[in-house]
Point group: D2
Chain length 290, copies 4
């Protein structure tokens, strides 16, 4: 930069460092994504094309920053784990945060056309982000378990909420009914009124998406077989606005997953939809992290 | 967020506040933009389509964050000024930084097709960002003067560099020649070998772009008449790679500026290419800021 | 420091800088000073020997750090104002904070014997501290006005509280009575039951202590004449524990003030007990600060 | 605090938190202690009364802050280790730093008379301080090893330096001689010219002082027998200014250690002069920390 009599203003810049010997999580979150998803007619409670798109964006970020060991996302959020003692940008917090959020946002826009070929982007999506520093392996595991539990609880709640709406309740009535109901009651309602066994919903909805680097000799085979029932789907898609779709055609899911793999092929990243609270997951993945 | 036994990990989050009673500058900068511009065959030393695109992205950001008073950009960087004592996101630094960088990045991708209709995006652009806090009006003025001086010095250097290359020098030879030459020599070289009067280059190249909100009763008429000579242009476009174009057809510039205005119309933002080091600029704009 | 294989631990040190172009206030506050004052039988509501002692400590700090422009204290707290753009310790926040708190604490102990010649120190006093950064002259003035208002409100409350106790109320009864009483009622109570005109209490109690550097040609003559009534004092000292003394012998105050001046003589610091909310104070002092 | 129109200034206060799940070290260091020690005629290279005094101050600090697990000091510095996840002051960094530095400084002044009964304090000592956050047990161990290595290297250097001065060299000559000499040469010089076996110096000089809390059932018996040779001492005390005393009368040391124990008795703190780089130390102490 040019050295002029104005250059003193550079002295006001301060970029603190992420503490050494710690893992860093960068979490990005959709800003006003309710508006964005309504505008683009995303199906409720889950729009698989949008989930595949955000997964593609996250894969791209992970492929560009080699120090990201693991990523986990659901809904409109994604968390990236930087390796302990990463030297990326000399651990400057603002530089790391802004670079990752920026690339994630750009990639989301870039890949839009691949997952919404018939739907032009009508408004501009954006994300906020934060960095969080974790000093212990235990807290890293618990962080991802926290987001995983959040995925599960939100998805169950939303699935139930939209099935109530599908069955004629207003949003307020659905909200009131759900306050105070327990997990079991929610599942029973789903089954009795919609004929849906919650457990048979796609794993990508129930468990979110986990990205890990493929390593030689490490078998990353955590994915339970998807138990989704192909026959139910036809009866439970509404034509309301937003369109409600409690289950998705397995064929559509497979096509999206296949398109995602085409894009992320050669990146050396494995895409999982599995339970990451379980110890068995960390037994295999842990050695890459600690 | 769900309240589980993992929720304690949330305690590790810390988002410091921007000091009260201060202006905040958020500066975004292209990451590896040399690669990005080469990949997309940007003309040297200036690609007017890319400049119009980044101006569109900045206008979009400014339209979405009402507390941004002023923005200034050139090349692949843009600086946004948040008003003193803005209450945006309760002054949380990470939230503000990440939201602006993200929206800027998305908008850059979104508007690409408008300015490069015949050129698909081949790689994914991204930006880093930083927040800087300025306690005094003086330092705010000096900050923008600093960036303006940077624009001028870089543009003069680059114009000379690429004219040397156009005249057969290698990059290394051009670099060596420029080390040690003063401003006057640079201008003389431009004139004697390329017939270019530096002062007749477009103001958008020499002075960058300033965005201000239009206010009733304030006449923002800082733009000098553009003195560019339309006849020179034809002789100095090379077919090399990267293509060198020391001057641009006024017609193309006008079309781009017009397209930009179509996009930013109704946003209440005035687009200027003027000298912001001059006191006259701050005499008019200052009252909006301080 | 020696360069060994352990030296890497030094990399974990981080000392952020105080923002440029700002004033810094360092405020020190007594830790558990209720215990300390009870242990040493401090008179209530004010112990003039303790006030003189803390003033001596503050003068010492101010004499050692030339960038301190102004200090203000009352009760067991003191605030020091560092000049804008001070380069002390390269503006390292921890270094500045710790050095000032340390010297203040040591000086408090060192001068104890001068103000409590017959009372050995029985426990070890200590202070906490904080740094606060102010970007505007207005907020600096308001900071000191804030502490001054605090002094006034606390002193009036405490004077009333201890007069209630002196008149036979328990602490709880006094506390309950004071909740809900306005300033006027408090003053009336003081006058009707104790014969005390609040305004006639010593200025050092009502207004705290302000330290300013003496400058040639600047007359720092803010002190109102002390209106304290010498005759009242004898009747209102109790022999209770803690001893209550609503007024102090002017002779004692003069002696303490004189001892303080002996100590701080030649330091070039003026000791004031005046109203620093008034504009007239800042009219004179302001030019030293801004 | 009183709620007035000035109270807004409180919003400028910010006290960041020490990261959870980490150990914190607070290190205090003498400010301008060369002047202070010269002023009080401290013997060179070690003044055992000053060492005992600083040990007393550190014991006092440790006794008042129950979350301090371990302390280590030598010369004019002391490091305190806060337990992982200490909740002291809600982990507010400035509050913790300032409180510890303040109490340390006050205690140093308070106990002065016990160790320098015939020498009034002539100037006011002070210390700076810093907080350092360590995320791993390994880095905590390495931190204390680093300070221990520093003690050793400095003490050996200083012992040699002052023996050169004792033998007639100027300070500059001594400094020049020492540049470039290795550890072995230093020891040989000490032995050949002063008849001093470096290993026979008191452990409190060579190894500094470590404070640990006494726990039931844990035998803290790390102290090697002190091998100091009582007969040498008489011949090597100079009457120069500063007085040089390469060895100290064991009787004096014992008396000081005994006085220190009188003061710290009942505090439940064990005072050690042992090698804390050795694994055997951490084998015993480690379980208290991790």
């Amino acid at each position: 930069m040019a050295n002029t009599r104005f250059s003193y203003v550079k002295n006001f810049e301060e970029d603190p460092h992420l503490l050494f010997d710690c893992w860093t999580v960068i979490r990005v979150d959709g800003r006003s994504f309710k508006n964005f998803s309504d505008r683009h007619n995303f199906r409720k409670p889950n729009e698989p094309r949008a989930l595949s798109l955000i997964n593609a964006a996250a894969c791209h970020v992970m492929s560009k920053f080699g120090d990201i060991l693991l990523a986990y996302g659901h809904s409109d959020e994604y968390s990236f784990l930087l390796k302990k003692n990463s030297r990326m940008y000399n651990r400057r917090q603002q530089k790391i945060l802004s670079s990752i959020v920026s690339l994630f946002s750009s990639a989301y826009c870039y890949y839009w056309k691949d997952f919404f070929p018939d739907q032009p982007m009508l408004s501009i999506p954006s994300f906020d982000g934060r960095t969080i520093v974790y000093p212990s392996y235990r807290s890293v595991v618990d962080y991802f378990s926290w987001r995983h539990a959040d995925c599960h609880i939100n998805n169950q709640y939303n699935t139930c909420f939209w099935s109530l709406v599908l069955n004629g309740k207003t949003h307020d009535e659905a909200y009131t009914w759900l306050k105070g109901t327990q997990k079991m009651e929610k599942n029973e309602y789903l089954f009795s009124t919609c004929g849906i066994n919650y457990n048979s919903l796609p794993n990508s909805f129930k468990k979110g998406t986990t990205l890990v680097r493929v390593e030689d000799g490490v078998v990353l085979d955590f994915n339970d077989p998807d138990k989704m029932d192909e026959n139910v789907q036809a009866t439970i898609v509404s034509s309301s606005n937003p369109p409600i779709s409690l289950m998705i055609d397995r064929h559509e899911l497979d096509q999206l997953e296949s398109k995602l793999c085409d894009i992320t092929n050669d990146l050396g990243i494995k895409i999982l939809h599995c339970d990451i609270i379980k110890q068995t997951f960390w037994d295999v993945v842990g050695h890459m992290i600690s």
